[in-house]
């Protein structure tokens, strides 16, 4: 346990020393909320959203953005680099299993996501009066399901990427379409039906819908939860089978 805590702390320190990824994970989602929230019309209830405000939606989307950043952008690049540079190979000769390092890396990403999410919610609540999730347990559940499903995809990318650069590139290529379906550019509520149907089956689209359910007071819907669990199981198993230590 002491070793795991030390590894996680070390990973967190290293994460903070990469200013670009630290910024995009910890501050950018909040910055997005602040920028969109400063547009007056986004703070007004609109008919299109059934009386909701744009900013209310974007708080949920910013949380999904955080999760996408850690799971699809940071984790695969770091782990693929560790393999490429022989960090995992060196660890394999010590009493600490490289699996522990993998766990520490995932834990670090989870902690970063929680911190960033807390900041997004706090700024949303204090500055723009966005209500906290009415169904808090449901929010936590939706958050964890989305984190697990996306991290499984990130691990899979880390498993198949031949180098750190490739891991980074694959992550970036995945990031934009996945975030599109999460509603970063067009919220799901105003998507055409067909796009909304597709979004329901993408990991971030499902995550956004589950989080949005909890924000508005219900438990995550069954379809989104099932989709996220399916990503976790499918990509998680594939990652475990394909992961190479050196």
């Amino acid at each position: 346990m002491r070793v795991f805590a030390k590894l996680t702390l070390t990973e967190f320190r290293l994460f903070l020393r990469e200013p670009v990824s630290a910024f995009f994970v910890l501050l950018f989602p909040t910055l997005l909320v602040v920028i969109l929230g400063s547009i007056p019309s986004f703070r007004e209830p609109t008919e299109d959203l059934g009386g909701g405000r744009v900013i209310d939606l974007y708080v949920g989307i910013a949380v999904v953005l955080t999760l996408a950043m850690v799971a699809i952008q940071v984790a695969p690049a770091v782990l693929a680099t560790y393999r490429e540079r022989g960090v995992l190979r060196r660890l394999a000769t010590t009493p600490v299993s490289p699996l522990k390092m993998l766990g520490a890396q995932l834990a670090m990403n989870g902690i970063a996501a929680v911190l960033s999410t807390a900041l997004v919610l706090a700024v949303g609540r204090i500055v723009f009066d966005v209500a906290l999730a009415e169904q808090f347990a449901g929010f936590v559940l939706a958050f964890l399901l989305t984190l697990a499903g996306t991290l499984a995809i990130g691990l899979f990318v880390a498993a198949v990427a031949p180098s750190g650069k490739a891991g980074n590139a694959i992550g970036t290529v995945l990031f934009f379409p996945l975030m599109f379906f999460a509603g970063l550019w067009t919220p799901r509520e105003v998507m055409p039906d067909i796009l909304r149907r597709i979004a329901d089956f993408t990991p971030l689209g499902a995550g956004e819908r589950a989080l949005s359910d909890a924000m508005t007071g219900s438990w995550p819907n069954l379809l989104s939860a099932t989709v996220l669990l399916a990503y976790l199981a499918g990509f998680g198993l594939a990652a475990v089978r394909l992961f190479r230590w050196s």
Partner: protein, 301 residues
């Protein structure tokens, strides 16, 4: 008790046979060298001993246990090629982290002093020179106070002074009772440090002996060079049974022969009151033995 026992090890990657048939044993407290040209199968052999590769055939026992036994990780310190650290991790953080992996770690302040890394504690890994990375790697291999240290290409990338300092450190580690397996292609290093050597070529052990034993196994001629004040009469030396050839050019003399050549030649010179200047004896070195051994095995292939 034998510390490491390798018997008929074989390992192939696809169609490429990396290790064909390697057997040797390492005894407690010795520095055992594994010598061989690039691609001879040294690293694969070492990786199998560390439990990183599963042999296709043959057996390996480390402290009587299977190399994949995780409890061995506490007792075997390893420094391998192609293993790194995260770029932004500092020297002190790396040592501090690795120290928590072991129940009774060595004092890493002392270790870094011995390895000349004392000034670099807050330097991130990416900013270290090749030699400094290498020394940090050695420190990490020794931090758990291992019973066995396996060091692959220990001094590659080090400047001559750092190389000598590292050799001193390795000897002091051995003096504390640690058994050391050293993979190297530096003959000088093997000759200076190793108690016994296995020369591996094309995946097979082509010789297994002490450094002196390997050299003695060559029936090579010795060569003596010197200068004299006056040109030397070759006939003075050609008659000696030890001498096979004398070559003079002006006042330069070169004598080749076998047995106690130096004594035979100097005795004649002393008797004639000829003073030899700049006298040099060239003896077969481990280098010669190595080239001879690996050339022969290439021919047999």
């Amino acid at each position: 008790m034998t510390v490491i026992e390798v018997q008929n090890l074989r390992k192939a990657y696809g169609d490429t046979v990396a290790v064909r048939d390697v057997s040797f044993t390492v005894e407690p407290g010795e520095i055992f060298g594994i010598l061989g040209p690039n691609g001879a199968g040294k690293t694969t052999t070492v990786e199998a001993i560390c439990g990183l590769r599963r042999p296709d055939a043959g057996t390996i026992k480390v402290l009587g246990r299977n190399p994949e036994d995780r409890s061995l990780r506490y007792e075997v310190g390893v420094q391998l090629q192609e293993s790194g650290l995260p770029d932004r991790l500092t020297v002190a953080e790396a040592l501090d982290l690795y120290a928590t992996f072991y129940p009774e770690p060595a004092d890493w302040h002392e270790l870094t002093r011995d390895l000349g890394l004392g000034e670099k504690l807050s330097t991130p890994y990416a900013k270290l020179s090749g030699g400094q990375k290498q020394r940090l790697s050695i420190a990490l291999a020794l931090i758990g106070r291992p019973k066995i240290a396996i060091l692959d290409e220990l001094t590659t990338g080090l400047d001559p002074q750092a190389r000598r300092d590292t050799w001193d450190l390795i000897e002091s580690v051995r003096d504390r009772g640690v058994t050391i397996v050293l993979v190297t292609h530096f003959m000088e290093e093997a000759e200076r440090l190793c108690d016994r050597l296995a020369v591996i070529d094309h995946g097979e052990v082509v010789a297994l002996s002490t450094p002196a034993g390997l050299i003695a196994g060559l029936d090579t001629e010795q060569r003596i060079r010197f200068r004299t004040a006056e040109p030397l009469e070759e006939a003075l030396l050609t008659g000696l049974p030890e001498v096979s050839k004398v070559h003079t050019r002006g006042t330069q003399v070169e004598v080749t022969g076998t047995g106690n050549l130096l004594y035979a030649v100097t005795a004649v010179l002393a008797q004639r009151q000829i003073i030899a200047v700049d006298l040099r004896v060239e003896q077969a070195s481990l280098d010669d033995a190595f080239v001879r051994l690996t050339a022969r095995s290439a021919k047999e292939q």
